[in-house]
């Protein structure tokens, strides 16, 4: 008998899901929304919408990271922390959950490229709606000024997707 088998279980063997596995995805979304409290004073607004990126990373990775209606309260928390007009993320995130459910029925297969394309479309919709809401408040920047944050968000999405897949593996004890 191998002596190591007698000691406490180490590594991957004998490790189950984390006790908070069901709530961890939602907790990471809240944590990402809370990144808005970082002491970054920027006058360009080119940083990605962290909460939304984590939300779509989870939803593209799995169909059931949380019950779909949780998107509304998660969006509410995001609105409060980021200073978006209240209700913006509530509506957008719920609609995202619904849209991705419909897309799940249609797509025949999934790979990294399709996920990235889906994320690109969702990020573009997010940025476009932010521009629209800013316009409704009389504060719409010129359209070319919306390009840098859009491109940055799209380029940074794979990093978030990778990070979320790592967290998912950890929470399920894999």
């Amino acid at each position: 008998m191998v002596r190591a088998a007698l000691g406490p279980p180490r590594g991957k063997i004998g490790r189950g899901p984390s006790p908070f596995a069901a709530y961890l995805p939602a907790a990471t979304v809240v944590a990402a929304s809370f990144l808005s409290a970082l002491p970054i004073v920027s006058t360009s607004g080119w940083y990605p919408n962290f909460g939304f990126l984590v939300l779509i990373s989870w939803r593209l990775l799995r169909a059931d990271p949380w019950p779909p209606w949780w998107a509304a309260p998660l969006g509410f928390v995001n609105d409060l922390f980021t200073g978006y007009p209240l209700g913006f993320s509530v509506a957008l995130w719920s609609a995202t959950m619904l849209a991705l459910d419909l897309i799940d029925r249609r797509t025949m297969w999934r790979d990294y490229w399709i996920e990235w394309v889906l994320a690109t479309v969702l990020i573009a919709i997010d940025q476009g709606l932010q521009w629209r809401v800013a316009a409704a408040a009389g504060a719409a920047p010129e359209i070319p000024r919306m390009a840098p944050p859009l491109i940055i968000s799209i380029c940074v999405f794979p990093v978030f997707a990778w990070l979320i897949s790592r967290i998912d593996a950890w929470r399920l004890g894999r």
Binding site: L38, P68, G75, P85, G87, L98, Q130, A134, A137
Partner: protein
């Protein structure tokens, strides 16, 4: 909700259906909230203030850490070239002393002239002093988080300035922190004038950290590169004679200017009461 039908279980089918309804309800509630917050933003003043009280102090604490770390590096850098710097500062000081004597003479003359005109001088009071600890770095709007709130007397609508120039105005106020709409926000319009010749202009933010300045009267472009824009005090919200921005680029009928009070390097910001509260209240009644 992943598949059209989860099997033969009635319970699973109903569960799927109700979760579908719940998501649609979420969208509807979100749209209603969004409409309310665009049409009547004061509705959510309290809940937004409470959220600021959660994020504000955290941002403040993190800001402390980063500014200490940054201070160590710039502090070390200052020793690198100390002798040269010393000589330069001495030269500057000599020049400044001369200018200061001139300014004192002008100040005295000004006071005498005002006394003869019997112009009433309103003392400029300070409501609170805070640090800029965060910003809306992932939004097309330009907001900053200020580390002072209603517990210090800050109220929504008050102008904010720093020693360098005008910063913006308060739009959300929590007990411990408040949100400032910067002068570079697209919705920020400040009545201003040129320091050089007093021509009245309008300074509107561009949403990317710069400011668009246009003359009130159509005609020749009055701007030159390097011009300083100051507040005019029109409208009664912002106090007059506060520097706003420096012109960096001319365009067809106006110019692009950069704010003098860069929120990223502003250490302290001062919250002041509205300059003419009665005028502000009157204009608020006119434009609901």
């Amino acid at each position: 909700m992943a598949t059209a039908r989860p099997g033969w279980s009635r319970r699973a089918q109903y569960g799927l259906f109700f979760s579908f309804l719940a998501v649609i309800a979420g969208i509807v509630i979100g749209v209603i909230l969004l409409t309310l917050s665009l049409v009547a933003p004061q509705q959510f003043e309290r809940v937004r203030g409470a959220a600021l009280d959660v994020t504000g102090p955290v941002a403040g604490a993190l800001h402390e850490v980063t500014s200490t770390a940054a201070g160590v590096f710039t502090g070390a850098g200052n020793y690198w070239d100390a002798a040269n710097q010393n000589a330069k500062l001495k030269r500057e000081r000599a020049a400044m002393l001369q200018r200061m004597v001139e300014a004192k003479a002008i100040f005295q003359e000004n006071r005498e002239l005002k006394a003869t005109l019997q112009l009433r001088e309103r003392g400029r009071s300070t409501i609170a002093v805070g640090r800029i600890v965060g910003s809306s770095f992932n939004s097309p709007r330009r907001f900053a988080i200020l580390s002072t709130g209603t517990s210090d007397g800050v109220r929504v609508g008050m102008p904010v300035r720093s020693s360098m120039g005008l910063v913006g105005r308060i739009i959300d106020a929590g007990a411990l922190a408040s949100r400032v709409q910067l002068v570079s926000d697209r919705a920020s319009v400040v009545p201003a004038r040129l320091l050089r010749n007093g021509i009245p202009v309008i300074a509107q933010g561009r949403g990317d950290g710069s400011i668009d300045v246009r003359p009130l009267e159509v005609g020749r472009n009055p701007f030159k590169r390097g011009d300083i824009i100051i507040t005019s005090g029109t409208g009664g919200l912002y106090p007059p004679l506060v520097p706003i921005a420096r012109v960096v680029k001319l365009d067809d009928d106006g110019a692009v200017a950069l704010p003098l009070a860069d929120p990223a390097t502003t250490s302290f910001a001062i919250v002041e009461p509205p300059f003419e509260p009665t005028a502000v209240a009157a204009s608020a009644l006119e434009t609901p």
